[in-house]
């Protein structure tokens, strides 16, 4: 599939919500969290296959607001990191590979 091949370019490290910058959108692939916590997020709209757009954030970029399923939900960086994404087939706003390269992966 087109999306998957685009995703796999970044040497095996799959992209997460943290990699999205404001205005970027992607498709949620899976939630890498224990059942209960994943369920809570799913109830808020974070279901695999759903389109997520990154919105505003607190100063410093953490936590960040994500637009998902008609709501705006703020997630901390360490939670966002557990939400694996694949590129949105419909809109590719920036070059995925270059974006991944510029995102700092600290903390």
């Amino acid at each position: 599939m087109l999306q998957l091949s685009g995703n796999n370019q970044s040497d095996g490290v799959s992209a997460t919500l943290v990699d999205l910058r404001r205005g970027d959108a992607a498709i949620l692939d899976r939630i890498d969290l224990p059942g209960e916590e994943a369920r809570r997020l799913m109830e808020l709209g974070f279901l695999p296959g759903v389109r997520i757009t990154a919105g505003f954030s607190a100063p410093g970029g953490d936590p960040r607001v994500f637009q998902v399923d008609g709501s705006e939900i703020a997630l901390r960086r360490e939670t966002a990191r557990r939400l694996k994404i694949r590129p949105d087939g419909r809109i590719a706003r920036r070059d995925k590979a270059s974006r991944l390269a510029t995102v700092p992966r600290t903390r």
Binding site: L41, G45, L47, P63, I73, R76
Partner: protein, 632 residues
């Protein structure tokens, strides 16, 4: 309301009653439960239906307490309404969901099982909100599906076919705007009419979230639901309030403006209340013959209670501001901005809301900590909440600052007194932060927790909601002034007038109260307090602001200070060092019976309240000691 062209079947006809099994025009239900996700406007509807007191907020999960009220139907019958906590699902995992689940299934002994349900959903986000309809309809209780925020849906060009939705769900559906009062009649119609069990065409497997969402999407499609355009203003406002630079700036300005207004705008109102008490007190003195009773009434009750009631305008202003911030949706943004800072001391943005409420009163703040899922975070928040400068401290601070600090302007804007007050707020905040840090790195250590917070759309706070909130606060404040504080003042007055010497009241020094004050004087002398302040400290164990009534009464009886008003009497009685020590003592000490009681209840035992009281007392004493010796 104006005609609503886009939505099918508005007006009285849009409650679509289905032919239920055995169409019984039965009596109205005795009790009905309001259920809905956070931010669905459930509490606003509750206010509309009952007009009774209820906290309304635009923040996820603030309705943690179970609120009840009575709705009067147009025909005069009454229905008991229970406002349940905002929930996303009915699988009982969090405390909120547990409460909602238990009430709805009749598992709670304190609440009778509701005979009908009002399910409140946000019509602008129906896709996700409809998910909650599945478990609610599965309960088999007569349910009215209320699509709230009809005005938003219309204005943002959304649409839903009510008849089709009602057919899919097998339950009546009403399109309502609780804020505007639109469609409320339909809710009353449901409450007065026949109650039929819902007959949905199909329900998903409730445990399977993706399946539930699929079901909700399908139902929405069949009801030709068109989701509205994104809220433009919310986006515009967020681009300022969540701007990396402007955001924190706005945050700081908001906080400063609140404090400045409380301190300046409240003054004329407070003067007005004081004048009322002065005039009425003088009238009593002139009317009644000189007697022990008159003395008790004027010196004890009037001076004592009056000196506390004077602060009502200030307390109400503070609650007004917190109410506006909460109802408008800004508070959720503030929590977002604060999260990183809170994380640094081991807490999270969700602790920010309870802590901000604690500036008004620690009791609702501690109740509000229920929205924090992580138990250790919650206990840590409960333990530090009483450090936040609550409104009961405000009168004490105001009095002492006004007595010792001349009013001047700093940099042309901020007054010296407002700055001093702000300093005390900061002191309490720092104590809270340091305590949180210590707790979270020792006995309450836990990994960084997940922070998930829904950002509600910005909305204008309604006058009704703000009004009800202030009315509620006034009642609580005056009830306290009329009970705890009145009782303490009267007991104090009696203690101060016994034992009689030759038929006359003793000099205050030789009374029982004086004896107690003198007995503890050695302990508080190092802090720069004399025996009169000592009596005040003892009475303030019941509630902080009681010290003012106490001092008012004592000074009124003491010949040395009788002619002074409270302010100059305190000036006469305290050194500047003692004054600062007293301020520090009040900043740290946990002098509030209500808080101790609520901490015991919320933590399920005496362990935490005892620890908290001891810790805060030690901190208060040592803090005051240091202050008294630094400032001479």
């Amino acid at each position: 309301m104006s005609d609503c062209g886009s939505c099918h079947g508005c007006g009285a006809a849009s409650v679509l009653e289905l032919p239920g099994p055995g169409d019984t025009r039965a009596a109205a239900p005795k009790s009905i439960a309001l259920v809905g996700p956070p931010n669905s406007g459930k509490s606003t509807l509750f206010n509309r239906l009952t007009g009774l007191r209820q906290k309304v907020a635009n923040f996820p999960g603030v309705t943690v307490e179970q609120h009840t009220g009575v709705a009067e139907l147009p025909d005069g019958r009454t229905v008991h309404v229970i406002d349940l906590p905002g929930i996303y699902s009915l699988s009982p995992r969090s405390e909120d969901e547990q409460v909602a689940y238990d009430v709805l299934t009749g598992k709670r002994t304190d609440t009778p099982k509701p005979e009908a349900i009002l399910l409140v959903l946000d019509s602008t986000n129906l896709g996700r909100h409809l998910m909650l309809a599945a478990p609610i309809l599965a309960l088999g209780v007569p349910t009215l599906i209320i699509l709230n925020m009809a005005d938003d849906l219309r204005n943002r060009n959304g649409h839903v076919d009510l008849a089709a939705l009602s057919a899919q769900l097998g339950a009546p559906v009403a399109l309502v705007s609780a804020r505007q009062g639109e469609g409320i009649a339909q809710v009353f119609d449901f409450m007065a009419g026949a109650l039929a069990k819902p007959t949905p065409t199909e329900l998903p497997v409730l445990q399977d979230v993706p399946k539930c969402r699929e079901w909700a999407g399908r139902v929405g499609r069949q009801a030709r639901y068109r989701s509205p355009a994104p809220p433009k203003w919310t986006h515009r406002l967020d681009s300022v309030f969540l701007h990396p630079v402007a955001g924190p700036l706005v945050f700081a300005v908001v906080v400063l403006a609140v404090f400045q207004t409380i301190f300046t705008a409240a003054v004329p109102l407070m003067d007005g209340v004081r004048w009322l008490f002065d005039v009425s007190g003088a009238w009593i003195t002139a009317t009644l013959p000189a007697s022990v009773f008159r003395s008790l009434l004027t010196e004890g009750v009037w001076k004592g209670v009056g000196s506390v009631v004077v602060f009502l305008p200030q307390v109400l202003l503070l609650f007004l501001f917190i109410g506006i911030l909460e109802d408008s949706g800004y508070l959720a943004r503030a929590a977002l901005i604060a999260d990183r800072t809170m994380a640094r001391v081991g807490l999270q943005g969700k602790s920010f809301i309870p802590l901000l409420s604690a500036y008004a009163c620690a009791v609702p703040a501690i109740l509000a900590t229920r929205t924090i899922e992580n138990k250790r975070d919650r206990i840590a928040t409960i333990l530090i909440a009483p450090f936040m400068t609550c409104s009961a401290r405000l009168p004490v601070y105001t009095l002492i600052i006004a007595a010792f600090l001349p009013e001047r302007r700093l940099f042309g804007v901020l007054s010296t007194r407002a700055a001093a007050l702000l300093g005390l707020y900061a002191l309490g905040f720092l104590a809270a932060v340091a305590t949180a840090r210590a707790l979270k790195s020792s006995i309450l250590k836990s990994g960084r927790t997940h922070f998930v917070l829904e950002m509600p759309s910005y909305r204008w706070p309604t006058l009704q909601s703000l009004g009800l909130r202030l009315l509620d606060r006034s009642k609580i404040f005056l009830r306290r002034a009329g009970t705890v504080i009145l009782l303490v003042t009267v007991v104090l007055w009696i203690m101060a007038h016994l034992p009689t010497q030759g038929g006359h009241a003793p000099a205050i020094e030789h009374s029982f109260a004086g004896a107690i004050g003198h007995a503890i004087e050695p302990a508080i002398k190092p802090l720069g307090f004399n025996w009169k302040i000592g009596i005040g400290l003892i009475t303030s164990l019941a509630a902080r602001e009681t010290i003012i009534g106490t001092l008012g009464a004592i000074y009124g009886m003491d010949p040395a200070t009788r002619s002074h008003d409270l302010q100059s009497a305190i000036q006469h009685d305290l050194t500047p060092g003692g004054a600062v020590a007293l301020l520090v003592f009040f900043a740290f000490a946990m002098q509030c019976i209500s808080t101790i009681a609520v901490v015991r209840r919320e933590t399920g035992g005496w362990k935490w309240p005892v620890f908290q009281f001891a810790y805060m007392s030690v901190l208060a004493y040592s803090g005051a000691f240091v202050a008294a010796h630094l400032i001479r």
